[in-house]
Symmetry: C2
Subunit: 171 residues, 2 copies
Amino acid sequence: MTRWLTEEQQVAWRGLAAVIHLLPNALEAALRDTGLSYYEYLVLAMLSEAPGRTLRMSELAGMTNASASRLSHVARRLEERGWLRREPCPEDGRATLALLTDAGHDRVVQAAPAHVESVQELVFDALTADQVAELEEICASLLARIAPEGALPQRLHRGTTASRRAGDAPA
Amino acid sequence: MTRWLTEEQQVAWRGLAAVIHLLPNALEAALRDTGLSYYEYLVLAMLSEAPGRTLRMSELAGMTNASASRLSHVARRLEERGWLRREPCPEDGRATLALLTDAGHDRVVQAAPAHVESVQELVFDALTADQVAELEEICASLLARIAPEGALPQRLHRGTTASRRAGDAPA
DNA sequence: GAAGATTGAGACTTCAATCTTC
DNA sequence: GAAGATTGAAGTCTCAATCTTC
């Protein structure tokens, strides 16, 4: 009793499938020169926005839609490169705090323009204002089904610490 | 002179970013029980639709938006499991033909319902008919920028060999 | 025992190098 | 030399197991 795709659905699905496959690649490619992967950039960017440039690992994992394991591996690599530090949380001995180092902050600030420009070129330059509004609603509807429960925490690239500093008032 | 994201763009972007990150995971999870990854399923499904259940490796790579290297590795694994065979192309000594075996065909037919149902649940059950139409146009616009050049070959899950057999007239 | 986090093994993808045929 | 394809190495992610603290 499978509900096969209609003609209309089929066209929409193959388009969406191609987008979710190709867009991540294109975003990675745009960050290539900065020496950061998209996920690494995301981690550093979230930290740059956080109060005290610090977040618990579990919070950071939730905000970036990643497993604790994935974040842990990435944090180790970022730590080795000197862009992130980890400390035990004073308030909860089980938790670990991730802190953005100055070098890490410099790195995000440096990488932000290239990333944001790629988002503009790859996504928004291709869409009308109406389409952007539609896309927003569509994504919200989709996420209601697939997001681990209201996990839409990312507030990237407008008014972020990194953005402000890089774009308006370089500290 | 970076074009930072507007408030509206920011909301749309964080939604889209979450979708392109989470949707692939959800699709993989839905296929978990079938013993196929999403990409493996795609490869076998494309072959099941092809005339003679055969395609050149280069064609198959293009249709699945993958590098030659990626496909080659996957083909080796699928071949080891007996679902795919490779033969030299008679017409061009450089090319290799990928053939779907009977066991491979059975596998796609078996996996198709679970996959299609997950697409229905994850995507179309969440959207109105209007939204589906909008999504279709939005994806087409986005792909015009990021697709390697009109690489929209996948015609999946309506009228495919695998689908027909599994849904209507089990062979 | 549950929550927070880390670790190592296994699997997959990318990248560069290589091989053969056109 | 270019096209089609494969290979091995390196990097990353997932999964299961583990450890510590609550």
